[in-house]
Amino acid sequence: MNNVIVYCEITEEGHVAEVSQELLSKGRKLASDLGIKLEAIAIGNKLDNIEKDILPYGADVIHIADDKRLFPYTTLPHAAILLKLFEEIKPEIALFGATSIGRDLAPRVASAMRCGLTADCTSLEIGDHTEAKTNTTYKNLLYQIRPAFGGNIIATIINPDTRPQMATVREGVMKKEFWPAVAKPEVNKLDVAKYVNDEQFVVRIIERHIESQKINIKNAQVIVAGGYGVGSKENFDLLFDLADVLGAQVGASRAAVDAGYVEHERQIGQTGVTVRPKLYIACGISGAVQHRAGMDQASMIISVNTDPNAPINQIADYTILGQVHEVVPRMIKYYRQNSK
């Protein structure tokens, strides 16, 4: 059997993106389960030290395509490099971040290879499958598990016949974990001219304004999250105050983001960030499946809601029946008075 490969996205600062490191961590486990190798591919410009960002996650082989035309990312050259490389190494599994780049690139590659691709997986596992009709058993397939139908159902998708088995995963869904074994990976510097031709650079970038990530709620230990029930941008300031005194980050539901109360980067859930804090304080959030998908692994959940039957209350450890703008100031006051 061939290997697992992770497409490593390069950030503005010239590092491997966190989502890719998370995928390397997951890819490492899948590769070990299957007894195969983990490979990584980084495509960009000035990648001299890029191995350093990949090494800790246990890649056995690191492919590097380094050329000044390869950063910023454009679709066709990156796709061409992957297609030729995949032809050479015939990976068993290929993983991409479900980012602006991964969701642009992976379908293009999957289509050219005529193989299956599952977007936005929330879990990846190895398992067998028996085709009822033909009674054929497929061993060690990649189970690509994802919410479907607006999050109302969870589907397990497989690709029995085509390779690689391709999937995209959002940032924060997989856990970033160092791989304890220190191995010396093989570094394979690709001769870029053999992988791309000039015609693939037809789409030109005229202008770019990319901000570095300012808000990072993914790794917060305590999160104060607000929903539509917070009622206004002004009331959201109360949540920022509470977060301030607790040393917490502020998160939000999609309804709160859509209402313009806070920035999109704070959205938690299926189409936002996945978080695993020690404490999650949900203020005026009903707890729709799509929201729970991003926060139900919090160790402790407190819900502040005027509706005793809000679905969020069913997964909460503590429920407070009441108005956000009354409860939150009281919490701040108590904490200020009683913390050292």
């Binding site: 980012t99 379908p107 289509s111 998708i157 770019r208 069913q314 407070i320 904490y335």
Partner: protein
């Protein structure tokens, strides 16, 4: 030869308003309980097409939708808002297609409409949220792609300039034509129906719909050919059957589960000052905070 803009539009169940009756007891989706709507981002795609048409002399917009007979509804809706004609790609053999098989069928339909200048799709359809069909169709047609379009910057007969919306910023890119574009929800909303166009197209029908109708509009269509919504089958687009439907779909659904709430034992408090103080005290004592 007109400047041809093709818009890919899908009719989808409205998964945003899933009520309790939308899930059957066995955990599967009761599609019949969900209203069928124009996929939201495909309306943004249509608006982009209309804006291109506004800037180009002699441009036409063709809406292509693949789906069951009733999907003709969204083609008419597109006509009321400014599309010139529509094609419904429909055949039982398409049933069960994943994004790869769908993009194969759509790419053949688009080829049949060639030459074309711009192909526009929504970023993603709300029933699957895959965002794959646009790029996959582009690949099958061997044309470049611009994803997550937010704004039309400039277009002429040779090239187009588009502002893209990315996670943490924007990018302005320029591509020669033909090109495939997918449109982000942050792009301008679609202009409303136009009363004159509603009058013009309200009798637009597919052949199948005509047969089901009590009143006969056949004659009307002889001198108003634009009332014809074309219907294309597998044979019409010359597709290979094994590349369609379940056999043409590399992804298989192994299992579907309903999302169940893992109910926890919870402690209930009121908004009373005393209650809140008690809760805070408990949290601080157990070092969850502080």
């Amino acid at each position: 030869m007109p400047f041809r803009i093709i818009v890919l539009a899908k009719q989808v169940p409205d998964t945003r308003n899933v009520g309790k009756d939308a899930m059957k007891a066995d955990g599967t989706v009761n599609r019949a309980a969900l209203p069928a709507i124009f996929n939201p981002e495909d309306l943004h795609a249509l608006e982009l097409a209309l804006r291109i048409k506004d800037q180009i002399n002699d441009a036409e917009i063709v809406v292509v939708s693949m789906g069951p007979g009733r999907a003709a509804e969204i083609i008419r809706e597109a006509m009321y808002r400014g599309a010139d004609r529509g094609v419904l790609v429909t055949d039982r053999k398409f049933a069960g297609s994943d994004t790869l098989a769908t993009s194969y069928a759509l790419s053949l339909a688009v080829k049949k409409l060639a030459p074309f200048n711009v192909l526009i799709a929504g970023r993603q359809a709300i029933d699957g949220d895959t965002a794959q069909v646009g790029p996959q169709t582009a690949e099958k047609l061997h044309i470049p792609q611009i994803t997550y379009a937010e704004e039309l910057v400039d277009v002429n007969s040779k090239q187009i300039t588009i502002k893209r919306r990315l996670e943490r910023g924007i990018e302005v890119v320029r591509s020669p034509l033909p090109v495939a574009i997918t449109v982000h929800s942050s792009a301008p909303v679609c202009r409303p129906r136009n009363a004159i166009l509603v009058m013009k197209f309200k009798h637009a029908r597919t052949t199948t719909e005509l047969q089901e109708e009590t009143k006969d509009y056949t004659e009307l269509r002889l001198y108003r050919p634009y009332l014809n919504i074309e219907e294309w089958s597998v044979e019409d687009i010359q597709a290979e059957t094994e590349k369609l439907g379940l056999s043409g779909s590399p992804t298989k659904v192994k299992k579907i589960e309903n999302v169940v709430l893992q109910r926890k034992e919870s402690k209930a408090f009121t908004a009373d000052d005393k209650d809140i103080d008690l809760l805070m005290q408990e949290l601080m004592a157990s070092h969850v905070i502080g």
